[in-house]
Structure formats: structure tokens, C-alpha cells
């Protein structure tokens, strides 16, 4: 029961407003007021531009091995120095970002797709289908995710998957580990939506299952999904970096932020050449924190009840 004072302030804001498009516009306006979220979004955009457009302005994109320029500290030509093969670290960080961001987004899309589909089916049809799907989800949630990731990673290595394809399989692995909690959430939302009045109305109207699901239930899930999807990208980028850091994810020469840090994880590089591993680490950190802050702002706007 909110306080009377909140009630007073609500009198003014709870005027009826029906039009759908204005609801979205209103959300955007609210989001723009949240300076933290706007800042987060700006950093996300910046990281994207840096990784996808940045390399176009770099003279070092060919990754040529340059023996005369090995392990140079940051200088005027190489802002973040060079690595043991004389490659420009800044360019490597940008190129690695391409892979890391792509893997993050793709595995998010995949796990949101699988999670929503299975969660929606379970929550809508209930009965035996629900039982089977949710039991599998429970099972996967019982097994700790890191060992699970390691096992899959090891499988990749032993099967000698060509390094070019590894990133696609890493995406698949991440979404395989990511979907159960999503499916659970979607199912929970659906179950509570089903009981609401407007769904009762569709039953009275005699609408078909598919129509009910696609036209009436799923649109109500969209705000929640947008929020979760956003936050999931951050999580996926982190998981990919862990996997690659332990040499079980994407492998060199395909650079990712995780395996760049791994490559520098030896006594001399670690102690004497921080420019090799600090920039990729900060790139992960900056990207993930920006995504999280932006996602939280989105949540405030789109799904205020789901706080926490």
C-alpha cells in the first residue's frame, strides 16, 4: 500500500492515455530524462563505433608481423603499444571487440529466442509439455554453469573445430546455458498474464490458440523481453571472455578481449607489459557496465514493477 503522498502525486499522472504509439514515445521521453541511462547508451554506441568503424581508420589492420616493432610500449604511432608479433594493440582491441560484441549479441538473440519460445509454449499449453520443458530447465540450472561451459569448451578443442567456426559454436554454447532462466521467467509472466481480465475476454470471444498467443499474450511480454535481452548481452560478453581467457572459447588468431588477456597471461607480459592486457580488460568492463546501466534504465521505464 503506497503512502497517501504517493497517491497525491499520482492523481496528476494517472490521466487516461490510450494510444499505443504515444506510450512508446512516452517511454523514450522518460528514458531520456534518466541521465545515467543516456550516458550508458552513449558509451555503448561509442564502443560499437570504435569496434566496427574504428579499424577503418587504422593503418595497421593487416596484422602484419613486424619484427622490428615487437612489444613496444604505447607511443605516438601505436597509442596502446604493440604485441609480441609487432601488431598494433589498439587495432587488435578494436578487432577483438567486433568478435566479442558479435558473440554477445548473437548468443543473446539465440537464448532469448529459445527461452521465449520454450517458456511461452510451457506457460501457454501447460500440462505435460510444460512439465517436460520446465524439468529440463530445472536440471540445467542445477548443474553449475562454469563446469558446463568448460566441458563444452573442451569438446570444441578435442573435436578440432576450425578456429574460424569456433566463435559460432561459442555462441551456441552460451545460449544453451542461458535459456533456462529465461524460459522460467517468460513462463511465470505468461501464467500471471493468462489470469488477467483481457485474456479472459479473448476466451469469451472464442479466439484461436495461436491468435491468442501471438496477438494478445506475446505483445505484453515485449517490454520485459527488451529489458532482459539488453542485460543479457552484458552477461554473454562476460561469459565469452571467461571462456576465451581459459583458452576454451574463441581461439587466436581470431582476437577477442578474453583471449587477448589470456595471451598476455605469462610472467613477463603480465608484469612488464600491462598495455597488452589492461586495454582489453577495460573494454570488457566499460561495455558491460554501460549495457547494464542502460538496461536498468530501460527496466525502470518499460517494466517498473520488475524492480530488482
Amino acid at each position: 500500500m503506497p503512502s497517501i503522498q504517493a497517491e497525491v502525486t499520482n492523481v496528476a499522472t494517472n490521466r487516461p492515455q490510450a494510444v499505443k504509439s504515444s506510450l512508446w514515445r512516452q517511454s523514450i521521453r522518460k528514458l531520456l530524462k534518466n541521465k545515467l541511462a543516456v550516458g550508458g547508451f552513449a558509451v555503448v554506441v561509442f564502443m560499437f563505433l570504435l569496434c566496427f568503424v574504428g579499424p577503418l581508420f587504422s593503418p595497421y589492420t593487416d596484422n602484419k608481423v613486424n619484427m622490428t616493432m615487437m612489444n613496444k610500449a604505447p607511443n605516438i604511432h601505436h597509442w596502446l603499444g604493440t604485441d609480441k608479433l609487432g601488431r598494433d594493440v589498439l587495432t587488435r582491441v578494436m578487432q577483438a571487440g567486433r568478435i566479442s560484441l558479435t558473440v554477445g549479441i548473437a548468443s543473446m538473440v539465440l537464448s532469448v529466442f529459445i527461452g521465449t519460445l520454450l517458456g511461452a509454449i510451457a506457460g501457454y499449453y501447460r500440462g505435460i509439455v510444460d512439465q517436460v520443458i520446465m524439468r529440463i530447465a530445472d536440471l540445467l540450472l542445477t548443474i553449475p554453469s562454469l563446469p558446463l561451459l568448460f566441458i563444452f569448451g573442451a569438446l570444441l578443442s578435442e573435436w578440432k573445430v576450425p578456429t574460424d567456426y569456433r566463435m559460432y559454436i561459442v555462441m551456441l554454447i552460451l545460449s544453451l546455458v542461458g535459456w533456462p532462466s529465461l524460459a522460467r521467467m517468460v513462463r511465470g509472466q505468461l501464467l500471471s498474464l493468462r489470469e488477467r481480465e483481457f485474456m479472459q475476454a479473448t476466451i469469451v470471444l472464442g479466439l484461436r490458440d495461436r491468435r491468442k498467443l501471438v496477438n494478445h499474450l506475446l505483445p505484453n511480454l515485449v517490454p520485459l523481453l527488451i529489458v532482459i535481452a539488453t542485460l543479457n548481452i552484458g552477461g554473454a560478453i562476460l561469459s565469452e571472455s571467461v571462456l576465451s581467457f581459459f583458452g576454451l572459447g574463441v581461439m587466436p588468431p581470431t582476437p577477442t578481449w578474453g583471449n587477448m588477456i589470456d595471451a598476455a597471461n605469462n610472467m613477463i607480459d603480465f608484469q612488464e607489459r600491462p598495455w597488452l592486457w589492461v586495454p582489453p580488460g577495460f573494454s570488457i568492463f566499460a561495455t558491460v557496465i554501460a549495457i547494464n546501466i542502460f538496461g536498468d534504465g530501460l527496466r525502470d521505464v518499460l517494466d517498473p514493477k520488475q524492480k530488482r
Binding site: 497517501i4 503522498q5 497517491e7 497525491v8 502525486t9 496528476a12 499522472t13 530524462k33
Partner: protein, 330 residues
């Protein structure tokens, strides 16, 4: 009844800053309560009556809410200029308050006994044992049997009526000079309502405590009040002695309120209701705020705010109808 006032609110304005603009929840109101008197504030929800009460208690929550202006004189000191600690020593001690929802007004995870003994320990400087003893007396005093068992129970184990009795017991535990009751019976069954009101009246007559009673129920007003204040959109539109006001309502809003109350033995075809809605507090312009709903609306009502003026027998009203009349008489 003495003539000096125990509580004197002067030109109180309480505002809330929202994203859309400032809401003037209470807008320049003045009222006073004499020792032993029961004053009722009547009005629809959102008219500012609860906010007035919370302003007196110093419970307006920053940063959205703020008391913009005014003096709240209680027993010779301005509550608004007191330090937080000083105000806290008055709150729950000289001024006590009970709320609308007894079910949610008590902490669900703390026993009744512990919640009751807190003010005794802070204000009356009792030790735990003394407080426990007094708690049992208080529970009996508000008409609940088996006090030991009640003191050990949690709020969810009691009914709403019992919880409101407990709230009253907490409120009177430090012998306050003023009790503020914010819709104390709204959430209760009708039979329980009468018991609670009786109890309040009884405590008033025992201890000469004043009561500021906030309600939207004119039945409660007729039963309890010595003096009535009618609020609308954050303003006082009419006030007077209860008998006088019920017999002779001047303001069209008061008249409407009285007309919309069903009267036993007088069955009408349709219950009267005041047409229209309370105006949006963000869109208020200089005018009589009631003009859109008023059947006597004149040009001046749309552009100027009527002042609260004496009419007769100590009754005051803020309406241009009587302003004109007054002018004619002069």
C-alpha cells in the same frame, strides 16, 4: 471549553514537486483546534485533508513533498521551526496519530507488545518491564481481553477492528494533548466503526484531549464533530460549528455534499451526486476551483479566487455568491 487554541495552523501550504509540475496539495489554509474540542476536516480524497494532518506531524516526505509556507502553532510553539529532535519528542507524545489502514499500519514482523511499548520507553522513559505492564493495561483499556496473549501476537493474527484499537492504545499511551485521526473507521465494518468512534469520544471526555478527525463521511462528522472544516482542492471552502453548518450550508460544495448523503426514511428516486470531477491539481488557474461543477457559476468564479469570509454565527465560507450579498448589505 476554553477559548485559546491548542493547535493553530496559519496559512499552511504544502506542495509536492512531481515530474509534471508542482501540486499544491494544501494551499494556504488556516484552522485552529481548542483544548478538548473535536474538529473534523471533511472532503473528497485528494482534497488535502490527510496532507494537512501529515504536515502537522512533520511527516511530509522530502524531497518530493515540502511545506512551502505557514505556521503550525502547537501549545505556544511553531512546530515548523523546531529541530528534528525536538519535534520527535512531541510526536507520539503530545500529538499522536492513527491511520486509515490498521492492517498495514503496524509492522508485520514485530509483536504487538513491542510496538506498543516503544513510545512508552522513549517518551515516558519507562524501562522494559514497566512498559510491558503498561501495555497490558492499555490493551484492556481499549476493550480487548486476554492482553498477555495479544501482546505476544503479530499483527496478521488480529482483525482490523482489533488492530485499530491497538493503534488507539498506542496513540493514547502517552496521554497526548492532540490526537489526529485520519479516516480511522473507513477500512472497518459498520458495527466496528461505531465502537471505535465511541471509544475516541470516551477518551476525549476522560482526558480533555483534542481530536482532529479527518473523514469523508458526513455521518461520522455529525456524530463526532464540534467544529467542521470543509476542504476542496487544497483549500478551505467552508467552516463552522457543526449544528450551524449542517443546518445552513452556504457553499455550493457543502450543499452538494449534504445532498448526496442518503437520509433514512426519505427515499429518493436517485441519489444526488455532484456533477463533474475534481480538477487536475496541475492545471489549476486563478479561479474558484469548484466553478466547473457549480450550478451557480458566475463570470467572476472563473477568473478570481473567492476569499474565506465570515458569514454568520462564526461560520465562514469562500464563495462569490455571499461576497456579492455582503456587498449589497453594506
Amino acid at each position: 471549553m476554553s477559548t485559546h487554541s491548542l493547535l493553530h495552523i496559519q496559512h499552511l501550504s504544502t506542495y509536492f514537486d512531481t515530474d509534471e509540475g508542482t501540486v499544491k496539495a494544501v494551499d494556504d489554509i488556516s484552522l485552529h483546534v481548542r483544548p478538548g474540542e473535536i474538529v473534523c476536516i471533511v472532503g473528497e480524497s485528494g482534497c488535502g485533508k490527510s496532507i494537512t494532518a501529515l504536515s502537522v506531524m512533520g511527516l511530509i516526505e522530502a524531497p518530493t513533498g515540502r511545506i512551502a509556507d505557514g505556521i503550525i502553532d502547537f501549545d505556544g510553539q511553531n512546530l515548523l521551526s523546531l529541530s528534528k529532535n525536538h519535534l520527535r519528542s512531541i510526536r507520539g507524545n503530545d500529538i499522536a496519530m492513527i491511520f486509515q489502514e490498521p492492517m498495514s499500519s503496524l509492522n508485520p514482523v514485530i509483536t504487538i507488545g513491542e510496538q506498543m511499548s516503544e513510545p512508552l520507553i522513549i517518551h515516558k522513559k519507562m524501562n522494559k518491564k514497566q512498559a510491558q505492564k503498561r501495555v497490558l493495561e492499555l490493551i484492556t483499556q481499549v476493550g480487548i481481553s486476554r492482553p498477555e496473549q495479544i501482546a505476544k501476537s503479530y499483527p496478521h493474527e488480529l482483525s482490523g477492528g482489533m488492530l485499530q484499537r491497538i493503534m488507539i492504545a498506542i496513540a493514547i499511551s502517552c496521554d497526548p494533548k492532540l490526537l489526529i485521526a485520519d479516516e480511522p473507521t473507513t477500512a472497518l465494518d459498520v458495527t466496528i466503526q461505531a465502537q471505535i468512534l465511541d471509544m475516541l469520544r470516551e477518551f476525549r471526555s476522560q482526558s480533555d484531549m483534542s481530536i482532529l478527525l479527518i473523514t469523508h463521511d458526513l455521518g461520522v462528522v455529525a456524530e463526532m464533530a464540534d467544529y467542521v472544516v470543509v476542504m476542496y482542492s487544497g483549500k478551505i471552502v467552508e467552516e463552522g460549528e457543526v449544528v450551524e453548518l449542517f443546518a445552513n450550508p452556504r457553499h455550493p460544495y457543502t450543499q452538494g455534499l449534504l445532498r448526496s448523503k442518503p437520509i433514512i426514511n426519505q427515499r429518493q428516486k436517485e441519489l444526488y451526486s455532484i456533477p463533474g470531477y475534481v480538477p487536475n491539481p496541475l492545471e489549476l488557474q486563478e479561479s474558484c476551483y469548484f466553478h466547473e461543477r457549480c450550478e451557480h457559476c458566475m463570470d467572476i468564479c472563473r477568473t478570481q479566487e473567492p476569499p474565506l469570509r465570515d458569514v454568520e454565527n462564526g461560520q465562514k465560507t469562500a464563495c462569490w455568491l455571499y461576497e456579492k450579498e455582503a456587498a449589497v448589505h453594506v
